[in-house]
């Protein structure tokens, strides 16, 4: 209890509250600028948190992430440019509403459902992470190796259009993660005697390059006309600019159901907010009294996709806090920020840094409240924000990305890495190879390798050799859970594909 109070106090100091406030404003504005995705905006900010007090930098980052998620739905609604792939489901009904002049109404519904979904999943995170972490404390190297391997398989097979490309991306990330000194023997690996490579590839330059620079290059190749601004029309009738209580009440069951679905999906590594948004949208359409309105400007459609994709953001921190495994790129970015501050997330963090963990929980809830208030302000000024010309924006993004990468280690090599990964990420996008599995593979390979090697070492001194892992109850229970989860997910995917075919 003392830890909880201390955590709340840490997250509600004036400095932390101001940091959340600034992070939210910056995130909402950056997220609302067409072309700047939520993860891109946060990736740009991560290095700067190093120079701030941890309890200013981390709340700011959390605020920024939540703000940018909502901001990205604004571009989806107003100009049919989803800031994140997850917001693509919001386009389906948000854009038709905006075309009817009801952009304000759609954005307000997106704000309410986003904040609801976010809060719902944060509450679930608070209850689930501690419980799962206490179980994870009983895990040994074999269980960790299994869990990490399973996460990698999940992420590679569920991200992108084809499994082989997801796997390829994970393997590429694993190879890049091996560059540097071997963690056990300190033998240089894949460095070719290049001194700067011996330290290994930095996570932050890689994140900035793959998320921000690659996306900027992809957007810059668009025709010159597309890089200019756009026009918007808003209705002057009051009813078209607000969400009435009866409208909100009628969508509440959809919001609740979608938030639950999003939370469940977010807790599983690799599934991510895009799948959650589309699944919730499909489910809302299936169970709606007016399914024919979906795709033509249904408020229920906006509410379903927004609450589900935001619900993922809290629950995808469950595997991160409980097992130290980032289930999603958002979690990977937050993990990067914590690593910069010297905090390694995982089950032990509840014992080593309990106050910090409760402070994160408190900061998440505070950020949701601020998001609701600030979101209204952003909606009013969005007409100006969404018209920033991309031809000036993207060169600025690249320069800010370079400065951020240099700031961490003071090395020009890191700036070069940012652009190398940017170009690599761009080529991967062009070849339809997802980049997220590469980042997760890069982050998880040290954990997987270390635990795998220790497991084999343990096996060599055991009578059953490597077969000893099957004598461990935790290992067997994990296998059982994984097989069941895989079966459920595959079944769901099959159903989705069948639905797609029948809809065609």
């Amino acid at each position: 209890m003392e830890n909880i109070i201390a955590g709340i106090q840490l997250a509600t100091t004036p400095e932390a509250l101001i940091a959340i406030f600034i992070g939210l404003i910056a995130g909402q504005i950056l997220g609302a600028i067409p072309g700047l995705t939520a993860s891109m905006a946060v990736a740009l900010l991560v290095p700067y948190t190093f120079y701030l007090d941890p309890w200013i930098g981390i709340p700011m980052l959390l605020g920024m992430f939540k703000g940018s998620l909502f901001g990205s739905s604004i571009t989806a609604i107003l100009i049919k440019t989803p800031g994140t792939p997850a917001a693509a489901a919001t386009v389906l009904d948000g854009y038709p509403l905006a075309q009817k002049g009801k952009g304000m109404k759609a954005m307000k519904m997106a704000l309410y459902s986003s904040v609801f979904g976010d809060t719902f999943s944060d509450v679930m995170l608070i209850f689930a992470a501690g419980f799962l972490a206490s179980i994870a404390l009983n895990f040994g190297p074999p269980e960790y190796a299994l869990l990490t391997g399973f996460s990698l398989i999940c992420i590679s097979s569920l991200t992108g259009n084809s499994i082989w490309k997801g796997l390829l991306s994970v393997f590429l990330g694993m190879i890049i993660g091996m560059i540097g000194l071997d963690p056990i023997t300190a033998t240089p690996r894949l460095t070719f005697d290049y001194l700067e490579l011996e330290e290994g590839i930095g996570l932050i330059p890689m994140l900035i390059g793959t998320l921000a620079v690659s996306e900027a290059i992809r957007q810059m190749e668009q025709p010159v006309k597309k890089l200019a601004s756009s026009t918007l029309i808003f209705s002057k009738k009051k009813i078209d600019n607000i969400v009435t209580w009866s409208e909100f009440k009628s969508t509440l069951p959809t919001i609740l159901k979608s938030s639950g679905l999003g939370t469940l999906i977010g807790a599983m590594p690799g599934l991510g907010s895009t799948i959650a948004a589309f699944l919730a949208y499909g489910e809302a359409k299936r169970s709606s009294k007016f399914p024919e309105e979906f795709g033509k400007g249904s408020l229920e459609g906006v509410a379903a996709s927004e609450s589900a994709n935001n619900a993922v953001s809290g629950s995808n921190m469950i595997p991160l806090l409980a097992f130290g495994i980032p289930g999603d790129i958002a979690a990977a970015l937050i993990m990067g920020a914590f690593l910069i501050q010297g905090i390694t997330l995982g089950p032990v963090v509840f014992q080593d840094n309990p106050i910090e963990i409760y402070a994160i929980f408190a900061a998440l809830i505070v950020a949701n409240l601020f998001n609701l208030v600030l979101g209204h302000g952003l909606i009013r000024m969005c007409k100006h924000v969404v018209t920033v010309p991309k031809r000036l924006l993207f060169p600025a993004v690249l320069v800010v990305a370079s400065a951020g990468a240099y700031a961490l280690r003071g090395s020009i090599f890191d700036i070069q890495l940012v652009f190398i990964f940017g170009i690599l990420g761009y080529l991967m996008i062009k070849c339809d190879i997802p980049t997220v599995p590469m980042l997760i593979g890069f982050i998880l390979i040290p954990i997987l390798e270390e635990n795998l090697r220790i497991t084999i070492l343990l096996g060599s001194s055991h009578d059953l050799n490597i077969g000893f892992i099957f004598t461990r109850p935790a290992f067997l229970i994990l296998i059982l859970i994984m097989v069941t989860a895989s079966f459920v997910v595959m079944n769901r995917r099959k159903l989705q594909n069948l639905e797609k075919i029948t809809n065609k």
């Binding site: 120079y51 259009n161 084809s162 082989w164 796997l167 390829l168 393997f171 590429l172 694993m174 190879i175 091996m178 056990i184 023997t185 033998t187 240089p188 690996r189 894949l190 460095t191 070719f192 620079v213 290059i217 810059m220 190749e221 668009q222 025709p223 010159v224 890089l227 200019a228 010309p389 991309k390 031809r391 000036l392 993207f394 060169p395 600025a396 690249l398 320069v399 370079s402 400065a403 240099y406 700031a407 003071g410 020009i412 700036i415 070069q416 940012v418 652009f419 940017g422 170009i423 761009y426 996008i429 062009k430 070849c431 339809d432 390798e449 795998l452 090697r453 084999i456 070492l457 060599s460």
Partner: protein, 173 residues
């Protein structure tokens, strides 16, 4: 140079297979030297994971190669993106070239601030911003903003210009 999507997929697989073989047979043996007498009782050798990942990559690609070339299974190809169209090929090439010049030459020799100033002007110009006044005001403002934020705010000194330094030293001497 418009690639058919399926042909592009085939080319991609063949290219990646060659790269994987190069990685397994040349890169790993030449860049990871296992300690002598390193046996299973010492744990796994440093090169083990690299070989494992290399082989897994090879099998994944080989499986897809067989699927596409022999069983003609290419269901997902239709969803894929065409790699480059004639229109955006030269544009992408120019953007990438400027980015590489910026990170390998401009920052190294002109320094961060001067290099970034030139980079923003050149890149924005290529992207269609032809108004010289806007270009110069925007790039000056951004560079100043970064200078204030980094040098004054965070006390981080971004790379200085080698050339300007030499010129100044030459003048002073």
């Amino acid at each position: 140079m418009n690639f058919n999507k399926i042909n592009h997929e085939k080319l991609l697989i063949i290219g990646l297979l060659c790269l994987t073989l190069f990685f397994v047979f040349w890169v790993i043996p030449n860049s990871i030297i296992d300690p002598e007498n390193f046996g299973i009782k010492d744990g796994l050798p440093p090169s083990f994971t690299a070989y494992l990942v290399g082989l897994l990559t090879f099998f994944t690609l080989a499986f897809q190669f067989i699927n596409i070339f022999f069983f003609k299974k290419n269901n997902n190809v239709r969803n894929g993106i065409v790699i480059f169209s004639k229109k955006n090929l030269s544009r992408s090439f120019n953007i990438i070239l400027i980015c590489l010049l910026y990170c390998f030459l401009f920052i190294e020799y002109l320094g961060f601030y001067l290099g970034s100033f030139i980079f923003i002007i050149v890149l924005s110009f290529i992207l269609g911003e032809k108004r010289v006044l806007i270009l110069s005001i925007f790039s000056t403002f951004l560079v100043l903003f970064i200078y204030v934020g980094f040098n004054i705010g965070f006390n981080i000194f971004l790379p200085e210009s080698k050339i300007l330094k030499q010129v100044l030293e030459g003048i002073l001497n």
